[in-house]
């Protein structure tokens, strides 16, 4: 088998994996019960979704300036997305939003059972 065919197959596998993670992240953001749990679902789209997609596109780009730019995009994602996520969580907490916690995880939060809501 030609090497370019192998690279193409690997590339498409990564692109499809990334797309699947993006969809799963979207489902999670709709399905999870409160703000903090939804952030975890959004985290999938930031890391797994974007990561696999860009890895797949890198294989399409090969050794070129386009690939370099893709790597820059990935790097910016990896530095900005946790900062943004943390800033959101901090803002939610300091404005008084309490996370819904699982029954057995102690007495923090408002005691409401999150898992019964999904």
């Amino acid at each position: 088998m030609d090497i370019s065919v192998v690279i193409d197959i690997a590339s498409w596998a990564l692109i499809i994996a990334g797309s699947v993670f993006l969809v799963i992240g979207g489902i999670g953001a709709l399905r999870f019960p409160d703000f903090f749990t939804r952030q975890h679902a959004a985290g999938i789209t930031d890391t797994g979704g974007a990561g696999f997609l860009i890895a797949g596109l890198l294989l399409q780009g090969g050794l070129s300036l386009v690939s370099v730019k893709l790597i820059f995009i990935l790097l910016f994602f990896f530095f900005t997305s946790p900062t943004a996520t943390h800033a959101l969580a901090q803002a939610a907490l300091s404005s008084g939003l309490k996370p819904k916690l699982h029954k057995t995880s102690g007495d923090q939060g408002d005691g409401e059972d999150a898992s019964s809501k999904i």
């Binding site: 952030q39 999938i44 969580a89 057995t104």
Partner: protein, 159 residues
């Protein structure tokens, strides 16, 4: 001085890779904007071990691939939690974990690594202790082993 030279090289390298033009005039613009940027950040006094952490360069080559693999594994765990039907798929919980990093930069790297890993989000850092919101008990227990803490400390050059 070392930081300034390294910053100039990094900036101009970035500029070259982004532009892809090699005519003398355009290259001159690149050198000019690099120098201007370096002068401005030097006057702002932010070119130091925090703003431009040179000392982490070598060890980050080992830390970040490890982190990337952890992120892939955590992605699969959270994706499974999203797709699991029924009410027991997630067990949201909050815990506190200690940090063993000596510098603020090390603590920020550790906290951001936790947030970057799906299933755990850092919501607060008080007196060297991180407050973590975890999506499942499995995510909580994975973090509680302290492996990421050890590796972040190692990256910083302490442990």
């Amino acid at each position: 001085m070392l930081h300034l030279i390294s910053l100039s090289t990094t900036l101009f390298g970035t500029w070259l890779l982004m532009s892809g033009h090699y005519e003398p005039l355009i290259l001159g613009f690149g050198v000019g904007s690099t120098l201007f940027t370096v002068i401005v950040v030097h006057r702002m006094d932010v070119v130091d071990h925090e703003g431009h952490p040179l000392h982490l360069s070598l060890r980050s080559l080992i830390y970040f691939p490890w982190l990337a693999w952890e992120i892939v594994k955590a992605n699969i765990d959270v994706a499974r939690a999203v797709l699991t039907p029924g009410s027991n798929a997630i067990q949201p919980n909050i815990m506190k974990v200690p940090t063993s990093q000596k510098s603020e930069l090390g603590q920020v790297i550790y906290a951001n690594s936790i947030t970057l890993t799906p299933g755990t989000v850092t919501i607060d850092l008080v007196d060297g202790e991180l407050e973590i919101h975890a999506l499942t008990f499995a995510a909580r227990d994975g973090l509680a082993t302290g492996e990421m803490d050890r590796r972040a400390s190692w990256l910083e050059g302490v442990g």
